[in-house]
Symmetry: C2
Subunit: 424 residues, 2 copies
């Protein structure tokens, strides 16, 4: 039997189970790595999913102007409704409205970043003991949020050889009566994949068959390379209820501003008023996004010029091509060419690198020897790849690729060795 | 036995228990009221805890300037660490540092409003089944947060006849081995009370005796009327571990900016690294405050002139005195003079108003007849008072008081009647 300690006798303050269970695997794994760069080479971090860090990808000037005007107007200092200003929600609805997936202000909930949008969606749909289906490899927040509140996660496989499409058979095999939602990330972090209309329709067919609502994380929506098309999931279905999460962070290159949103697509009234009200109630706890950014939102969405979006995606494509081309000829590596977002996945043929146990070990040593840090994909529950962020300046990307090549050439062994030898 | 429904057969999406349990009593009660103003009188809302709505209390120009500079610098667009920029945390630590309660950057966690600060503190200290002690009447968020995660609340009484001091005996009687923390609001919403050093020491003595950590909600700290002194709780104790929550919302009059903080006071290392790490982990879910406001924070704290703070509190004092003086002579009402924050509580001698059942009924009818809306304190779990916000322009306050007088004169009955008569 548990020993009941009285508070009255001595100090004994412990963090809650929720705090203990709230686990960000990126921090948990990266903070445990020994990341001491080679003092003779300047550090190049290809690990940070923040497009602003190198200064080469500023947001558009119109975005700054909109924010300054919001400050100057002095109209956005007070509390906004917890789901956001009506006018700002209307602006988002108009921006994403389409004949195939109509949206009005009432279908928009503004949040503190896409992260809060994801948190609210998982929390409104799931009870402890339920499970959600999440992509593997996939963005880690879904699991962090779920585990913190006792919701289980089931990982469905993405197929690297099919441009990271969903393994539909595997996905279907995971669905049970406790499954509360399917999480789909398109375009994907960490894969950079952008799904075709047909593939999305295949996923929707499964969701429809099993009556499973979808959380569509579309924070990289429209952030696809020139020549490629993004289909927002809701435009391809008229029966599956979809909560689409997005925000300013990526496409507008201002992740620190913490502006996100939930778009409620529910044409058959499956969510009904209950889920909508549930979302509203959850927003009332901490309220949502900074009012200044909310105040600037309409102007940002209306006035950001097309060439800004285009020059961002052109840059990301060019840099991805450089990286892909360079690493394709490196022994032991298998990069997968992305079509959008800002990441490229690189497979490590770990059998050919007997000096390393896994991707964590591999990337740790790459820092020590070459001062290049790529994120080991164990943080995405997917071993033996690393993820490169393609927002860095071109020269830096070239230099990093050259160093990665050097590193691999040094450690590559043409014939795979019996790994048991290493244990001796 | 519960009927297990397979997801596979039909659509059945319901909000989670957490979403259903997340209850904001202000919304739950106010949204249920029939608030139809008298068409012949302009509406006066004395209910909104937002000092910016009437335009008479703008923030200081230096605050706007700081924000504009943060935008212009283009240095605050990327992600900040989840607990905030080091420089901004340092600025908060320096601002609140005192010899009696020293603070360093490591003791500061920046949050999305004081609301998130409160949420994180309750969540890091409490498991489902624990209880927290909260003031009655008190700010509703504590209960909203607790109930959502299965933490129980126990309400300790404040004593209106002793300027809303804590009933220490009652407080002590509530403490048990499942009590995870004591929540103290000083200065208080809704009471406007500011506790003396001696009273705070009495509370600390109890906390120390029962080894109970304190969540000190000090969002109205220093926002006290000229002549009155605010003592931050941590300066009066060297053994009780205290999480002090605050933010820019009230004193700097910018609640929409969603800038809050937790100050960790733990001189005897009771919280230790575990609680600190728990807080860090909880911030990693949605990240914290907007980086632009974080970027402006140091300048705001350094450059806001003293006269700004002084003119705000002078205004609040003058308006409170008007309101108190006016309502003191209204039959059936008992206002309690505040010493800080931006509220005044007014008791309703409900026995003398046989036409009304309770404060909700009373305030609803005041809207219908006089177009004046005061918040019924049932929303604070405390019946038969109403709360007036004293940030409104002076003329409005005078007009509102005159109308309240008219309303009461009309409905007041000198001799209390047997309320059973009303049931017939
Ligand atoms: C797939 C995905 N979803 C959501 C987010 C979080 O976005 P935000 O910064 O707006 O919270 C990220 C950030 O990296 C992401 O990669
Ligand atoms: C006592 C108290 N604490 C906290 C808050 C919330 O502050 P914020 O707007 O910074 O979340 C309020 C707001 O009214 C309050 O009255």
């Amino acid at each position: 039997a548990a020993k009941v300690r009285s508070r009255r006798q001595r100090w004994d303050v412990r963090p809650s189970e929720m705090a203990v269970k709230t686990r960000n695997p990126i921090r948990a794994i990266v903070d445990g790595m020994k990341l001491t760069p080679n003092p003779e080479k300047a550090m190049i971090a290809l690990s940070i999913g923040d497009p602003t860090v190198f200064g080469n990808l500023p947001t558009d000037d119109s975005v700054h102007q909109a924010l300054k005007q919001a400050v100057e107007s002095q109209r956005y200092n007070g509390y906004a409704p917890s789901i956001g200003y009506q006018k700002s929600r209307e602006a988002v609805a108009n921006f994403y409205n389409s004949p195939l997936a109509p949206l009005e202000a009432k279908d928009v909930v503004l949040t503190s970043g896409c992260s809060q949008a994801i948190e609210l969606c998982i929390n409104v749909l799931s009870n402890p003991g339920d499970n959600i289906l999440i992509p593997c490899p996939g963005f880690s927040l879904y699991k962090t949020v779920a585990v913190a509140v006792g919701v289980n996660v089931k990982l469905y496989n993405l197929l690297p050889k099919q441009s990271w499409e969903v393994d539909l058979e595997h996905l279907e095999s995971l669905i049970d009566e406790k499954t509360s939602c399917l999480v789909l990330t398109n375009p994907s972090n960490p894969c950079g994949s952008v799904y075709s209309k047909e593939h999305l329709q295949g996923i929707l067919k499964l969701a429809s068959k099993h009556c499973l609502p979808i959380l569509a994380d579309e924070i990289y929506g429209d952030m696809v390379f020139p020549g490629c098309t993004f289909h927002s999931l809701a435009t391809l279905s008229s029966d599956v209820p979809i909560l689409s999460c997005g925000g300013l962070a990526k496409r507008w290159l201002v992740p620190g501003w913490r502006m996100g949103w939930i778009l409620i697509h529910d044409r058959n009234n499956v969510f009904g008023s209950e889920i909508r009200e549930g979302l509203v109630k959850l927003t009332q706890v901490i309220l949502g996004a900074c009012t200044l950014v909310q105040g600037a939102l309409e102007s940002i969405l209306l006035n950001t010029p097309q060439h800004f979006y285009h020059s961002t995606t052109s840059f990301l494509k060019a840099n991805s091509e450089i990286c892909f081309k360079e690493l394709s000829t490196v022994p032991g590596l298998t990069p997968v060419m992305p079509s959008g977002a800002m990441y490229i996945m690189v497979g490590i043929d770990i059998d050919h690198f007997p000096g390393f146990e896994n991707d964590v070990d591999f990337t740790e040593r790459m820092v020590m020897e070459q001062s290049v840090f790529c994120l080991p994909t164990t943080v995405f529950d997917y071993p033996n790849y690393f993820r490169i962020v393609v927002t860095v300046p071109e020269e830096m990307m070239l230099e990093a690729c050259a160093r990665i090549r050097q590193f691999c050439q040094h450690h590559y062994r043409p014939h795979s060795q019996d790994s048991s030898e290493l244990d001796q």
